[in-house]
Symmetry: D2
Subunit: 122 residues, 4 copies
């Protein structure tokens, strides 16, 4: 076992994970229909972007998946994990980490993953 | 003990309560600063308005209270109950119920209460 | 239009609605599997029972529905509305309101409804 | 700019961040008093421990801070970020990451941070 020095890269990935976990558990469950979906997309983007180290964020809610769920009597549904497609870039010191969340049809799971790591100014 | 027949009025109040409880526990905790506050206000209004029986809704987040909390290093805070001033009108059958939520400084508590009940078409 | 006096009964129903809305939007989304399900059931009961006017509460999470969702690679799922069967009795002044939430298979919707209203000491 | 290969270490930190973000935004806002606090502590531990790659978790809610907030008329409060002291160890492949969350009195902020990174079997 070797105890490691904590780097900007470690912190960039850690912070990126925090944002995705926060976004998911803060906003899933929100009541939505086709009229309100763009408003909640924008609010999620704005809210998560005020957190520390967030450089860029895009949030898309899958309208087709939402439509397929609107068949109940009341004409609305709730935001669920599989509807979310999110990309976040975190910048911590000299490192940029791009992470994302997207429904993985094979795993049947809204998968969060690291997409790219860049060391800046090197 | 007398078992009562359930009326439109009962349902209007019940539904109104559901909306306030839902709103509070869905959206408090959202990261906010002065730039994102109007976006989350609008999203809350839109999201709650898609729920059954909601006739009108207004959501205001107290900017002064938010400002007083922004003193931490990171320049943002989270939406907390006492910042919320909400008015919702629910219409169920022949009854309109107006309910609200507002910080009560004396109780030090974000108090939800019934403001007005109207029997329509009578 | 007639403006009505607000009664204990109105408040009992309003408070009962608040509890169900709160419960749903606070706890759905919680990660669960068959090992953790009874722990979250108990915590939900305890947490909601500390809120004002709650007289009794029972919370059951449908194990069969949960099992049917555990097929993903990671062996866990999240608490969703349709898994919840909740009964709450609220007492406000002279009135007891029993309300509940249960998945309605016909509506395909986790339906909240008033089950019984009792005027006490009458 | 150099694009980097994604390592077990990157994933360990990313996953650790996800868990803290999820925990915070799922469970803050839960109604609590001194009777229900240990039940919600246990439920949080159980729920987060079912998520992928979680090796160990401890959750403590600060009773003294809670007590100081119970002065309202209703004798309960809600779980807030500053009350939480959490330690999570994530294991991803050959790497263990220990992370934590604790109220930082100087920053007046519930700070999440990396505490230790270990490369195993090296």
């Amino acid at each position: 076992m070797i105890r490691e020095k904590i780097t900007d890269r470690d912190n960039a990935l850690f912070e990126a994970g925090i944002k995705l976990g926060a976004l998911y558990h803060q906003f899933t469950g929100s009541p939505i229909n086709l009229d309100s979906v763009s408003s909640i997309e924008q609010a999620i983007q704005k809210c998560i972007s005020v957190q520390p180290y967030v450089n860029e964020i895009s949030v898309n809610i899958d309208r087709e998946m939402l439509k397929s769920k609107l068949g109940n009597k009341f004409g609305y549904f709730e935001l669920q994990g599989p509807m979310l497609r999110v990309k976040i870039t975190v910048k911590y010191g000299s490192v940029k980490a791009k992470v994302g969340m997207e429904y993985d049809t094979e795993l049947n799971y809204p998968l969060m993953k690291i997409e790219e790591i860049e060391e800046l100014n090197v």
